[in-house]
Assembly symmetry: D3
Homo-oligomer: 312 residues x 6
């Protein structure tokens, strides 16, 4: 239906791009990406992608601005080289938290990102666990947002979960945590954070965790402040073991310091962004997502249902 | 800066349009809107709006399809009559719940609505309490989403709220309820609904309400099933008085029957959509929003900050 | 060339959708379309249409606003489910009479409709006997407007047409009637309607019908006032038999009452919109168009000339 | 409301541009328009139009391709010089007859023209007596289509019109002619042209003209074949005097030869396109439209209703 | 991948269109292109191009305005006939010199042309030796700009080029000339033109040509003033033989007169535009480009790399 | 004409933003710009810019990706805060050298940048000395490209320029250098660089510099390799003093090291990008451009001709 499959590594996560290419038994397409001394990004494909079905693998992770611009420039390159179809594969989509005007006189950067990607020339997008599912509606092009919840569910199903609770670390995470609780057939608790005055804020555990194993569930681990405070509250509330499960391991400073002292029994994340060796904590489990993404890409390429992959 | 102010009644809520016009001391602009025998909607302005600054007041409420198409046709009419600027004022924005693909192979109708309004020719939008704030990002045109929370807060501040709790009737409402709880400096509880099997679902109160006055808070009252079940749960959990506060009084069948037997001490809503006489329950309070909208429209017309109106 | 053929019933005319699907030996694609209590329309495809060549059958007939919005929402659904190509098949296109500003300060709703359909994501349109052929030019997407005149011609060719005349019921229909007269090699007469004062209007027969069989020809029968008045004038002018031939049987009230007493020898229409049982007058002949549309759709799907079908 | 008024002569009809500028008491804005030896058109404004309200006067008449391209290049020039608003004033709009696919595999050039003008950067259009009013709907930008019928009516009102008839020279002109007949309170007749075989076609007069003064009414006089044949038919049908009234005096060859021998008592047209001296037949009256256009432009510039000008 | 290949002759250069069709062993697709008496251009395809992969051959050469409008109308025709893909093949692209605002208050007509072609509905462009390569970036659609330098190089390689120099006739041509010099491994010289006063300008040869064979190299020969003056300067500077090499033989008046007396040893151009018999000077060599274009078109049609054709 | 003037510092060049604001006697508008720990850029305006005429000062200089994204996010912020008009002021426009496909399978990033800025919502652009003037044509929005050549001319006019020559450091700079030479009424020389083999390239001076003062002129000083090699060649060719004049002082590594040892008598640049203290070489003169930009902005704001400022 479309031209031959082409996988391009955008440079932000070479290991994942390779993982996907290996699963699809397709070599990564040759591309030179470099930065000139004036910091302008240069891209050149080593061979033509004319009429091909091109997937660019690029989580828009650290260095964020460079990852985004490289993705946009790659799309332009591939489009002007007359690709048949271009899919921007963003296992992690930056600026997801800028999805509404929480404060006055602010941007909606997530919408801007969707528009920039469309303007550059992408025909489709593919992404995982958006911060809010509404962000998929920011795109005017069609695409697929998939969730890695089932990968995390499979991991936890191997544990003894009798007498456990899933905990949303803040109200924003409650819908997401509830879906995970349902998958594991566990009760739900929610932590509410409220500002007391200019300097202090108080946490309240809404629901029960005493004597239970608690799984804090969120879409990403950024600076880890919220989840580490949550872990402390849960321990203070009498929780037994405390786990942390999340999709995107951003681990922005000082996440690692905080996580090292937070006393989680296990931290489970997905490799949607690279986790460098120095951040590989002993209690950290990184689940690979390459095979899952490869299956999705394969189905998109062949024009087969993606939903069937997860029994939808 | 812009031409003379013009307020047009789109027909879905004449009383509110009149309220706004009265506050702005501007007569409603003459317009004929009718349906032919073949159900095609006909619109004709009685006089020209060339170069004027036009605001069309049209909540997209029942009859929903007609309200939407009338709004679109009005925008086209005003645009082809060479208006200087066109603002679609939708105090209630239909299809807000279709803001993401909760299920596979479904539309994102809220985004579609935003695109249709833009295509018809609106330059701006103005709306109140979207089901999700991300919907504002579905619009490519600029606009203002305002909240009526402060109107509801002012109403409840006149009550004795010592020993009260704000209750989110489901997880989706938890962020919204938390903001209201903060405004009133009250604690928060959340009701979790979970499907047990194909026929039954169980409600759980996460948090505490025993011996307290409870204010269920949501953005709209549709068929009222969730809030009435919530009220029953709260009573069973030992709550004293139970209030219901929400912005949009949709009251879709069988809302009135349910609300009549639910035993709320008071139901407080905003007149963003019409509440016909037969739905005016004895314990229902409808707060007028016309003056608030008029102030916003006045500021938009004059090019003054809207945020200042609510001390942002 | 394109993915597998998919026919979707938009709900406005299930019988015609089934007729088309049967002719194409393709089952109708499963889709759930319903209205919630709040009148929001809900759509979900039962299985994926990814990469398929989708045709949505939806005349925008009564209930008009719902038919239009359902069509738009279906297009969005199918687009976001990654269809390969989407064709909006509208055997009847509403708002065709709003194709120009006959009056000042009115919309051009037919253009608006074309833009809405494009915005929702249709790649093509297919329609029959537009009120004015210029409306095809309102679409920026390519498409096919076909005429059912040959179906009507074939029907009348079976009659004795010696000493007959084709009559345009008003000036707007004169070009259309002339083409039909040419197909049957008959002379043409035109009825002119002119307003005498605020309350009365006079009809004039331009041309001759005395002692002849007259076939009033128009694109649609709406409230039937014009054609019934025309029939009376023709009888008064000495016409023998009077037939009515038209494509779209809208039969808006009080069409049926008028037609019952108008004394047509036969009324011949096409089933571009449903004719409910209670409107099936004894002298009414409804010609099926499903096979014709199926042949067109088949050719579009296969990338073959559609004009060849009618020897163009 | 807008910047200062600027009138630019696009070169296709300098006399009319000057007429308009004189009526508006505004000098024509300096602009150099020339063709290089390689036939590329060159445009340069002599002074800046930054923020001004610019009207470009350019009927797209002979030389048609040059007139169109000059208009497009002028719009681009004015837009890139940062004009505040740009109105394309096309008293005659070419390609009006290519407004639908009368034949298979043809373009809809009138829609294309509307899109080209929009793409070049026009904010509005202003035109007179389009071949079909639907063409106004081809534009996605707002604009004004005005009719010169009242100028023609005023001219004929000075004649003795007792026992007169307005005649549409073909079916396509019947709606237009009927409106003119109504303005003068005269009856209507229509000439039908039908192809008999590959070489001959027959004209039929539908209606009556014997012993009457006949006014053939059309939107334009192109090669004048249709109207001259119509005049002959009318004379043969016993008409007394025969007049010709039309808006656009295209007079394409061999119009002048035909008109010279057609024996019209008077030919009345509007100067929407230039009539060179050698085409000024003795029985030709050219009514000036500059003052009418100037009044419209003045109202558009000041943001006042244009419809009021003609008592709409 | 795409539908069957279709080559359409746009009328500006029938011989080249035929040359291309012959090389591709495809008959030219039947199309009627004519001008009505009112100078409106009429287009009709003789058979359908539905779903086909259409290439329209149309250098936008003399008559320039007609060539451009015919191209645009052809694209609209082919698009509305539902072509699968449309490529505008412009071996010569007019208005290339209007690629920037060299003077204030001028247009950027080359960008306008790119936008017009896109608006009309082209999916791709294919062109040769743009006046500035940046013009390719004026297109928002993908496309291919190829150079004929290798054809010219192959021609000159057959000559004795020991002791030769490539000469840029002005600074604007210096980059282009340098690339040609590199291809032939020859030194470069540049002619600088400077205005002395309102009436005279002086030429300076920067670099050396005494005793050498000189090849003046440019992208086009327009009125030939610059290159003929350059030839005179070179002779005066002691050059031996003087050649002229250029891609586009526009030969606008008075080019032929100038070239006849300029004394070039040979003038070598490419047939990107027609060279009529009366311009076939004895010392003129016209290299055919049809085979080169046919190879490129073949590769585009088959989805194969075009760069490989020239060993990129 | 437009709302009140607002100047926003985009953060890439605070000193220049302040310089401009001071000249316009307008305080910089309050805005918070920061980077979160996850490197997402956050923007919030301290007060509303509703209906204002906003100019965002942001050369897209080092850190380039951040400067670009901050500009785009600022535009979105200002647009969603309902600014009346938004002008992106980019005294230096990055990616200017990616203005064409010099190599196969590369992007045209400069066009992409123009599209991104437009998509974000800018109404206009303002920039200085683009690498190629054609880049202005990459923008679909109107704007102003101005040159700082007259500032550099004024600086050099104060020197003794008898017996001087302007030198283009490569062919790409020859047009630009020639214009500067004309401004100073000096002769021109050009340096040609040609690759000899994979490792060495040879420079040739086309023209004469022996015994003369030479001014190397370019649009920017990036890594300074070309200009320093040029200086060495000029000295070797017998030049007396060697100056360097350029607009944009990028000074990318190892520019400073090279310039320190190149022996220029003076290096003269414009402060379109910041020159940090450690790069302030003793022989470096940085001319301020704030006053020039302020005058342009003032004229744009007031709707007055900008060309008049430089006597165009």
């Amino acid at each position: 239906m479309y031209g031959e499959l082409v996988i391009i590594n955008g440079g932000a996560h070479p290991a994942l791009a390779q993982e996907i290419a290996d699963c699809l038994q397709t070599p990564l397409h040759g591309v030179e990406i470099k930065k000139f001394a004036n910091e302008n990004i240069y891209v050149q494909l080593r061979s033509s992608v004319r009429s091909r079905d091109v997937f660019i693998i690029q989580p828009t992770c650290v260095p964020v601005s460079d990852s985004i611009l490289t993705l946009l420039i790659l799309i332009d390159t591939v489009r002007r080289d007359s690709a048949g179809r271009i899919t921007a594969v963003m296992p992690y989509f930056a600026y997801g938290r800028s999805d509404k005007k929480d404060q006055p006189r602010t941007p909606i950067t997530a919408r801007l990102m969707a528009d920039l990607i469309t303007t550059a020339g992408a025909d489709r997008f593919l992404t995982l666990d958006l911060h809010a599912s509404q962000i998929a509606g920011f795109f005017s092009i069609p695409g697929d947002e998939m969730t890695t919840r089932i990968l995390l569910r499979d991991h936890f199903r191997n544990k003894d979960l009798s007498n456990s609770v899933v905990v949303a670390p803040d109200e924003g995470a409650s819908k997401r945590a509830r879906k995970f609780a349902e998958l594991l057939d566990l009760p739900l608790a929610i932590i509410e954070k409220r500002r007391r005055d200019a300097h202090t804020e108080a946490l309240t555990l809404i629901g029960d965790a005493a004597g239970m194993d608690a799984i804090i569930f969120d879409d990403e681990v950024d600076t880890a402040g919220t989840v580490c405070n949550g872990a402390a509250l849960l321990k203070a509330s009498g929780a037994r073991r405390v786990f942390l499960a999340a999709t995107h391991p951003l681990f922005s400073p000082p996440a690692i310091e905080r996580l090292q002292s937070a006393g989680f029994d296990e931290i489970v994340v997905i490799n949607t962004v690279p986790v460098p060796a120095e951040k590989m904590l002993p209690n950290l489990t990184v689940l690979p997502v390459g095979s899952f993404l490869a299956k999705i890409i394969g189905r998109i390429h062949e024009g087969r249902s993606v939903g069937e992959l997860i029994n939808e």
